[in-house]
Symmetry: C2
DNA sequence: TGTTCGTTCAACCATGTAGTTGACTGATAG
DNA sequence: CTATCAGTCAACTACATGGTTGAACGAACA
């Protein structure tokens, strides 16, 4: 769980392109050579080769020589890193929401205890002090 | 669950920058104004303002005027879209792995039934025909 | 009604990305 | 050993991004 910030940059950058996401979907389904992948797109071989280098830099795939072509293999671990990183933001929000919810249920004169479900949006408390800079 | 490909581009692009991820972590913890956010970084106000526009374009945050400053509110739904999209690639891989696993357990003369756990890597079948281009 | 304060816009620079074409490399198959 | 074929590299174009500075905007307070 190293997750150097540069690695996350590369990871999300690699995902931020429709062609690369298509390639990822292809190689998630089957092991394909770079040439076979290229046939699926209206781009030059070189362009696909570059896209695959970007995916490789992000550690989302690796290449393996098989005969005279190179097979592209998906590396699911990096997908998991990305997914869990995103989940962390969701958890932070969720925990804050629950704290806020508890606070409201507490200070409100028990008129509807634990009834403030997640349909609540945009809780306007506005004075949250406790924040510390979580670099990255 | 619209997920236009451009929207995913913006979403992952917004996540592909350490400063923006920091901002996201800040606003996941607490509602902050743009000015308060800017104080956490060695960047100009304008630079932070631009970063926040990128996050807004990705639908990861929205702004809400409060008095004379503008509060930045996280929008967890887009995080979920991103996370679930990534999970889809993981599922595709997982399903392929399980199909492959079943195939191996089947053709192998029952010497170790259902024992080929996920420690197996790089299953060299090499002849997967059935792939159709899943645009995006 | 100003003025002020928080924020955005415009212009600019440097760098990165996505694509092309054409030359090059290097492992494999003959 | 050599020709071939899959893939990469280099150079170039066009455009996007991330940053700066300074001017402009717009809502709110006095």
């Amino acid at each position: 769980m190293v997750e150097r910030t540069e690695q996350l940059d590369f990871l999300f950058l690699a995902l931020a392109d429709a062609t690369r996401r298509s390639i990822l979907a292809l190689v998630a389904e089957a092991e394909l050579s770079i040439g076979m992948i290229a046939q699926h797109f209206d781009l030059t071989f070189a362009a696909i080769s570059k896209h695959i280098q970007v995916l490789e830099r992000a550690n989302l795939i690796r290449k393996e020589r098989r005969g005279k072509e190179q097979m592209v293999l998906i590396v699911p671990a990096s997908l998991t890193v990305a997914r869990e990183h995103i989940a962390r933001y969701e958890q932070m929000w969720e925990e804050r929401f629950l704290r806020l919810d508890a606070l409201l249920n507490d200070s409100a004169t028990q008129e509807s205890p634990t009834k403030t479900t997640k349909s609540r949006r945009s809780a306007a408390h506005g004075k949250a002090k406790r924040y510390q800079r979580p670099r990255q």
